[in-house]
């Protein structure tokens, strides 16, 4: 086939056009690919800028060591191990327990470079951790081992200087108790892992862990301190083995102070003997002796109108079966009921109890809560020891506080119920949310009239002729009752081992507070003419505590001249049988 010039030219044009289109397409594709690559590289570049510059800057700022006072300098791989446990405060907002951030030292034995050198450096830093113990921990096969919990900031700085890469810190919260040993038995303490093991810490463990808010207790640290120091001073003066005390608001059962001695440091409870952790005021149950006469006389007066005018023959010791009941200070005469109470006659009280009867006295004690464990937030409250079986002779001895053992908290709650107008009181350790409303109970145990009579009788005990004149407070009308009981031993009661106690109330005309103090095995001294009875040992403590409380709490004296009924309530004479 012959190809002419025209057709060749057309073919050339066609080829040229196709060639131009292909180049154009290729060029366009190159532009597209280039654009895509530019975008992709831009994204990568921006991301690299973000990661390397921006985020690094943020992270650097984030890792900057804190310069805030009280904070650990830095946490090496640390994180907060626990949530913050709620604080506990007293009724005035004073801090009783709080959780503070501390650093704890751990080791990853795999990365410990020089176990011997590190153990040596650490043991010289911590005086209480032995070199061998540290070395064995550092040479363990695991990847995590605690070396010391709660390291101080200065120790932490020293450890960082050791520079071993296998050492690390973890931040955690530790409980601190600014009031120290003073409230150890009320607040209790926490274990190393943060669980409450005693006192309010244990009783309210779940709500404190949940962070349900600050726990406001009824305690007043000033009152607590006054009670503690006075009991401590008397313990030392009379060489007593132990002591206990409770201050309670008689109107609502709020406990302002609770002391049990000897006590311990809640920051290091294990370094004290186990005996120190025994709460004598709550867990301990004791035969408290004559303070129980408050209850037997109150029961008698409540059951018998005109009971005050009754007389009882205390000329001879009372013989019932094979038992003989004697008086400590025999009056050897016929006594009126106020005299029975004032001179603390066992014979008179036993005769009073005979009139009440076993059922009557038991029912009365039960109504006062003296026969069962207290319903309180403090764990391990003592359960009273009562005679089983309860025979008639037990009624006689229980009327003056023998053969029945209760805790000091039982006793002060029951006394509060007697003097506050007769309404049942239960001890409270947590402040109620609502203000006002003094009396929280409507459960009546005795009549108002009986309550007024008992207040007057308790006032007489503190008068010049009573057994507790050393409990008197200048300028304040007070009332109370002594109790001296022999401790049971292997061969019956031991006359030389006494529990001396005093429970008092003030101001006696309009009671606000009940104070109980007790000394365990006080010894007689020259000043007390060798006596270790409550009138010499416990009554003066009450007087001193009240004197301090009056100024702390600004308590009105409620002086008789301020009260129209003062003559009726006067405690300067014993003409009660005519008055009531």
């Amino acid at each position: 086939m012959a190809i002419n010039a025209r057709s060749l030219t057309r073919l050339s044009v066609t080829v040229t056009a196709e060639k131009g289109d292909a180049l154009h397409v290729a060029r366009s594709r190159i532009i597209i690919v280039r654009t895509v690559f530019i975008i992709l590289y831009s994204v990568v570049a921006l991301r690299l800028f973000d990661l390397m510059i921006l985020q690094a800057m943020f992270l650097q700022d984030d890792a900057a060591p804190s310069t805030i006072v009280g904070m650990p300098p830095s946490d090496v791989g640390g994180s907060v191990a626990q949530s913050v446990r709620s604080d506990i405060i007293d009724r005035n907002g004073v801090l009783l327990a709080s959780s503070l951030k501390v650093s704890s030292l751990y080791a990853d034995p795999k990365y410990i470079v020089d176990p011997q050198g590190t153990a040596k450096a650490l043991s010289s830093l911590f005086g209480d951790v032995a070199y061998d113990v540290l070395l064995s921990k550092l040479q363990k096969s695991g990847r995590f081992v605690w070396l010391k919990r709660g390291v101080t900031p200065s120790d932490q700085a020293a450890i960082l200087k050791i520079g071993d890469p296998g050492l690390g810190f973890q931040s955690e919260y530790r409980r601190v108790y600014p009031q120290g040993h003073s409230l150890a038995h009320v607040i209790g303490y926490n274990g190393i892992d943060g669980a409450g093991l005693m006192g309010l810490e244990r009783g309210f463990n779940s709500s404190l862990v949940e962070g349900a808010g600050v726990l406001r207790s009824t305690i007043d640290v000033r009152v607590q301190h006054a009670l503690l120091t006075e009991i401590q001073a008397s313990m030392s003066k009379f060489s007593a083995q132990g002591g206990a005390g409770v201050v309670m608001d008689v109107r609502n059962g709020e406990v302002l102070g609770l002391v049990s001695l000897p006590d311990f440091d809640p920051h290091a409870p294990m370094s004290f003997s186990k005996d120190t952790q025994f709460n004598r005021a709550v867990q301990g149950v004791y035969e408290l002796g004559s303070v129980f006469k408050i209850f037997s006389i109150a029961a008698f007066l409540d059951l018998n109108d005109g009971g005050l005018s009754r007389t009882f023959d205390a000329r001879e010791p009372l013989k019932r079966g094979r038992y003989m009941i004697r008086d400590f200070h025999p009056e050897k005469r016929v006594l009126t009921v106020p005299e029975v109470f004032m001179v603390s006659s066992n014979i008179g009280t036993a005769l009073v109890a005979e009139e009440i009867g076993t059922k009557g006295l038991k029912d009365f004690y039960r109504r006062l809560g003296l026969l069962s464990a207290l319903d309180i937030v403090l764990p391990a409250g003592g359960k009273p020891l009562i005679p089983r079986p309860w025979r008639d002779i037990n009624t006689l001895t229980a009327s003056y506080g023998h053969g029945i053992a209760v805790s000091p908290l039982h006793l002060v709650s029951a006394v509060s119920s007697i003097v506050n107008g007769g309404l049942k009181i239960s001890p409270r350790f947590i402040l109620a949310d609502e203000e006002g409303g003094d009396i929280v109970s409507s459960d009546r145990v005795i009549s108002e009239k009986t309550s007024a009579m008992m207040r007057s009788l308790m006032g007489m005990v503190v008068s010049e002729d009573g057994t507790a004149k050393k409990a008197a407070v200048a300028g304040m009308d007070v009332g109370g009752k002594t109790g001296t009981a022999e401790k049971p031993g292997k061969n019956g009661y031991d006359r030389k081992r006494l529990i001396s106690s005093f429970v008092g109330v003030f101001p006696i005309n309009d009671p606000q507070y009940a104070v109980f103090v007790m000394l365990d095995e006080p010894k007689g001294i020259k000043e007390s003419y060798g006596y270790a009875t409550a009138g010499w040992t416990a009554a003066p403590i009450f007087s001193k505590v009240v004197e301090r409380m009056v100024s702390i709490l600004s308590i009105s004296a409620n002086h008789p001249h301020d009260n129209k009924d003062s003559k009726k309530r006067s405690v300067s004479n014993i003409r009660y049988k005519e008055e009531f």
């Binding site: 532009i31 801090l95 959780s99 300028g475 002086h559």
Partner: protein
């Protein structure tokens, strides 16, 4: 073809602009989040500091320590324990309650008013004492 390329380039550019804007916004969000984190961290730090200072304050103000300090410098500062004697009067019987007649001296000048005025508004007072509005 040119138009298609142009459209593609424009769309690419637009998407790039959008992506960049998104990136800027995300960075701003991150920056704000970081600021919040820093503020939260500072708040936590301050709270922790407050907890420490509060604990220290109550530790230093515990009654045991204050009593020791008061005893140490009590004489110099004339700080003595308050006794109930210092607060309450002792029983004085009823003699102190007997009313005592105190002689009242005769006035040196004649009283302005013969009787107590019922109205005590300022104008009336001025009028009665012979002030500006009075005679």
């Amino acid at each position: 073809m040119n138009t298609r390329v142009l459209v593609f380039v424009c769309l690419s550019f637009l998407s790039f602009i959008l992506a960049f804007s998104l990136f800027v916004v995300s960075q701003k969000v991150r920056s704000v989040e970081y600021s919040i984190h820093l503020v939260d961290k500072n708040v936590d730090t301050e709270k922790e500091t407050l907890r420490v200072l509060n604990a220290e304050w109550h530790y230093l103000n515990r009654p045991e320590r204050l009593e020791a300090i008061a005893k140490q410098g009590g004489d110099a500062l004339k700080m003595n324990p308050v006794h109930t004697d210092n607060i309450f009067k002792k029983d004085l019987g009823t003699s102190h309650l007997t009313p005592v007649s105190i002689p009242v001296p005769a006035p040196a000048v004649k009283p302005v008013f013969k009787k107590v005025p019922k109205d005590t508004s300022f104008d009336d007072v001025l009028e009665r004492v012979g002030g500006e509005n009075g005679n």
